[in-house]
Amino acid sequence: MTRLFEVTHRDGAARLGKLSWRGEELLTPHSFESKEELQFLKELTIHKAEIDVTVIAAQEGTSAEQVDADVVVLAGAARFRDDPRGLTKALLEARALANPDSALYVPALATPTNVSLLVYAGVDLVDTVMAEVKAREGYFLDADGERRFDEVSRRPCFCNACNGATMSELSFEHRVTLASDHNKKALKAELNKIAENVERGTLRELVEGRCRAAPGLTALLRLLDNEYSYFERRSPIVRKATLLACSQESLNRPDVRRFSERVIERLRRRDGILLLLPCSARKPYSRSRSHRIILARLDKLRQYLNEAIITSPIGVVPRSLEIMYPASNYDIPVTGTWTCDEREWVTERLTHYLSTNAFESVVAHVSGPYRQICDAAAASLGIEVVHTVNDENILSSASLQRLSAVAHELIDACSPARRDLRFDYIRDLADFQFGPHASEAIFPEIPKIRGLFPTYYASDRGRRIATITGTYQTLALTIEGAGRYLRAREGSYCVQIDDFQPKGTVFAIGVLSADPGIRPFDEVIVVNDRVIAVGRALMSGWEMQASKRGGAVVVRHMGSR
């Protein structure tokens, strides 16, 4: 029975938590330092006094039962110190065995360099043993790598361990003493930095930087990225921080991959005319100078077009989803040249997008690498793309002239239906968040849309149904909207609670069952026999069901059923 550990923040598989430990509150991720603490923990594994500590072994193919303890120890993790494959397997296995509200302790493995990756993978507790061993092996550790003593020619750092020391003059024994103190401090500092990043939801960015320190760590991150479903199940659907895609690994981020998969799997099938546009530095795209000029030129023609933006690393972003994370806030290094990986990934996404929808014609108002990507995708599908930009700027008057002429021509030719573009935002968000065809359940008729971009709201005969929220630009349902969705899709995005009135925060202990598809920050519907409420999830659905501690849903509105 888990009682003493509670997760307070989540960022993918990484968590911050509180562990009641010998009368005080330990904030995790935490590193055990003293022998006395390690001894205390070890004894708990044998006679489980106040804290339930259970040891599990990292073995290939164990299919043991779920472990429900305050602290789960991954025994023997240190043997994977040079084996990223083994470590990936062991960590995922351990997390699968341990209850979500058990703290996972990985003994004798953490160093300042690898601890961010360990926490990223879901580790809550570490110790300073390996940092001490490394000091005695003759290594100075920092978050960005390790150096042998003889490679340290200048004062290594300005922590008080290194205060006043001139490395070259010291004996090996002195250096060990100094390094062991420094390494421990470096580990502590790194843990603090990690905690801050988890709070901001930016641990992934930190990890992508840290993994450069050693090939083994980069390998570890890539191997972890192969475990898409493990991280996807834990990744929030939105965040406030900007996604910084500064490395090759950014293409494999779980949130990026999920976005582009949902675009294809969840959005309604489009037909008519597709206009492809390049991305812009300013987000949302329609606020950028380039898009404003292009869109102003098209003006009312837009109501007959489907727009999509081509971008790395996200792939294809339909106009209506430009306000959704990560399309709404990401940044990439812009050099004008694209790497092969980027081209390949975006081409593949575009091909997929074109083949799952049924466009009659595709217009591309793009230049440079974007144009090559469009051509590559078109060639692989055997379709034709109408280019409206020749060797010129996409904003040149000639190209804009051409664009509007082509648009006119095509619209006259295939006469697509006119749409309310504001409803597009709401409708596609509904499908994106609640699954394919959700918008048909929530909006059987076209509702009245009001509000300023992007916080539109939809109402039907004077009753508000859904609103795009200002903070995360997610679609929040009203009780009316939730009722409509619930009638069509009993159970999905639903949290079944015990018989009480949900107010403020619903805690995991009160959750009877929840849709396992729910992700942190998803808009969810909270129900029991008497009431129906809407709110924002704080943890994944499967986690609500398995956890006993922590907030599950922040309720926004409540009504009776």
Binding site: K35, L38, K42, G76, A77
Partner: protein
């Protein structure tokens, strides 16, 4: 990296015994000469390893660290064994103060070495001041000792006690006998005026470095009253053993040479403790940090002959690491902290 590569090439082949001399490959699996301690004097010795059909225990159960069964020959006949022995004697002569007859099993086990072969070999070595044979304790009975005594009075029975801790011996080594059995065997041998040598294993699997060190220290003290000589076998990773499987998974590391030094230093006043760290300084053998291994191995061998702890003078920067490992290895929950 370079050092490790070299170390890999020097993997000990088969023998777990004293190999401080030249080795030749005769018909016998191995035979070599060397120097050993006899009543305080350093004397020339001959070691003969006979290929038999293998240790009866290894054929049934086997110990977790012993891979000698690989060297056995299931079809070995009585005449083969005798022939091997004769070839070695023909090659080296009999002018050794000590002759060791090893079979990678039990010399006194009749199913391994038939009685007539046993008696023939022992009677041939009548003139040698000390003939050392190895055996599991169940074959060191008063009856067998009596029989042997009539043929050769200068026998030393070497028994693989490994540790005085029955729990470790039977659970981690799978030795299949108790300390009582050893004591009984030792009494039987002593009753006939034979001397007894006890092999102790430094670092059976599943022990931390500290547990292994403490177990060895304790075992020397426990075994000393029942043995004339104690031979400290520093565990190495032999082919086809459980220890090897654990080692490959990163779950076992051969002991540090410093630990062997610590045992020898701590017990040489209690008993005559000899040690030949087979494979010392290799990945499969006991090792330190590769910088000091050669020196420490040499010192251990020197000590085995001199029994003088002043032999140990080496120091190295990795001693701090070894001390840390002793103190903290248990907190890795089952794996060595340092490869």
């Amino acid at each position: 990296m370079k050092k490790q590569y070299r170390a890999r090439k020097r993997v000990p082949r088969t023998s777990g015994r004293e190999t401080n001399g030249r080795r030749t490959r005769g018909n016998a699996r191995f035979a070599w000469t060397g120097w050993d301690l006899l009543n305080g004097d350093v004397v020339p010795s001959l070691t003969v390893v006979l290929t038999t059909k293998g240790c009866s225990w290894a054929r049934r159960e086997g110990c977790t660290m012993c891979g000698y069964i690989i060297d056995s020959n299931p079809d070995a006949q009585a005449s083969d064994i005798q022939k091997q022995f004769h070839e070695v004697i023909a090659h080296y002569g009999k002018a050794f103060k000590i002759v060791k007859i090893f079979t990678s099993g039990s010399f006194l086990d009749q199913s391994e070495v038939p009685i007539d072969v046993r008696d023939a070999i022992l009677s041939e070595l009548k003139g040698t001041p000390k003939v050392i044979v190895e055996s599991r304790p169940e074959f060191v009975t008063p009856e067998i000792c009596d029989d042997i005594f009539r043929i050769n009075e200068h026998v030393e029975v070497a028994i693989g006690l490994e540790t005085s801790n029955d729990c470790i011996r039977n659970n981690y080594i799978n030795k299949g006998f108790s300390f009582r059995d050893f004591v009984r065997a030792s009494e039987a041998a002593h009753a006939n005026g034979f001397t007894v040598k006890a092999y102790l294993l430094l670092k059976p699997p599943f022990l931390t470095e500290r547990e292994a060190l403490e177990d060895a220290l304790r075992s020397v003290r426990d075994a000393a009253p029942h043995a004339d000589t104690i031979s400290l076998n520093v565990c190495n990773v032999q082919k086809g053993t459980l220890v090897e499987a654990l080692w490959k998974k990163g779950l076992y590391r051969p002991p540090w040479l410093w630990s062997a030094v610590e045992v020898l230093k701590g017990t040489h006043e209690t008993a005559t403790v000899i040690c030949d760290p087979v494979g010392g300084g290799t990945r499969r053998g006991p090792h330190n940090c590769w910088r000091c291994d050669r020196e420490v191995v040499a010192e251990i061998k020197e000590f085995s002959l001199s029994q003088n702890s002043a032999s140990f003078t080496a120091t190295c920067i990795d001693q701090m690491l070894w001390e840390y490992v002793l103190e903290f290895e248990e907190f890795s929950y089952g794996v060595p902290l340092v490869p």
